[in-house]
Assembly symmetry: C2
Homo-oligomer: 139 residues x 2
Amino acid sequence: MDDVKIYQHLADCGIKPSVQRIAIMRYLMEHRTHPSADEIYSELVNKIPTLSKTTVYNTLKLLAEQNAALMLTIDERNAHFDGDTTPHAHFLCKQCGTVYDIPAHEVLTCAKPCVPGEFHTDSVDLYFRGRCPKCNCEN
Amino acid sequence: MDDVKIYQHLADCGIKPSVQRIAIMRYLMEHRTHPSADEIYSELVNKIPTLSKTTVYNTLKLLAEQNAALMLTIDERNAHFDGDTTPHAHFLCKQCGTVYDIPAHEVLTCAKPCVPGEFHTDSVDLYFRGRCPKCNCEN
DNA sequence: AACAAGGTTGTAATCATTACAAATATGGAC
DNA sequence: GTCCATATTTGTAATGATTACAACCTTGTT
């Protein structure tokens, strides 16, 4: 993926770039697998041997705060992260742990007005849990 | 709240009653505050001095598995529990941490069909995050 | 080059949750 | 009621994700 695109995305979200931030943002944009902080660290430490896990956590928190990425709490075990900030839902397979994207534009756009007006909503998350097609067939 | 009602609810969900299970289920039914495991423990240990935190965790997991209660992962810090299993959404105030109920029957009933058929959906959670009316006014 | 501000690193906590094994309670057979 | 098998509870000790913190490194500026 083009570096410029990543720079631009970070800039758009008011985030100053750094080698680590770009690497992490790039990873999220190129991998649509909803990785955990640990997975991101394990992958990137190969390319940036000095990378620290604290940096990964700090950066992911920053990205989420600035809406450059989503932090998903669908999995009680650990947070997952998503580089796609456009409205969509998620499905967690309780068997294999995979988090799937679920297109649900219409649901989310109709969901916002359901919150009484005095609540100031920053984010709407729609989470589905169950068994994915793969695990449904296996057993 | 009538003991019979709680017994019945547990029985309906295939859960054998015990002093601890009834106390925890009762607490969830009488307190609509979406308590954490720790809050439940702290309250109930006054009435059941021998209560163990492990029992609270075990019981809450059992209740959630049997659909006698909901485990909410809206808060990244810890799980919250809800004795109301009828379809509704939740709102987490990022400032004060309160979890509010949001009536959203229509959203949820329309949400299920959005998941492609091969996914077997056990639960649908709709989570809103932001500032509640109280915190909105204060600052 | 010197400096200040911000970013990164590694280690050591924190804290929610779980594993586990011993102790206790429950319900049925006799 | 007693005995036994089974399920439940308890307390302590792990686990494991996340954060606190202080030292170190980078970067841009004068």
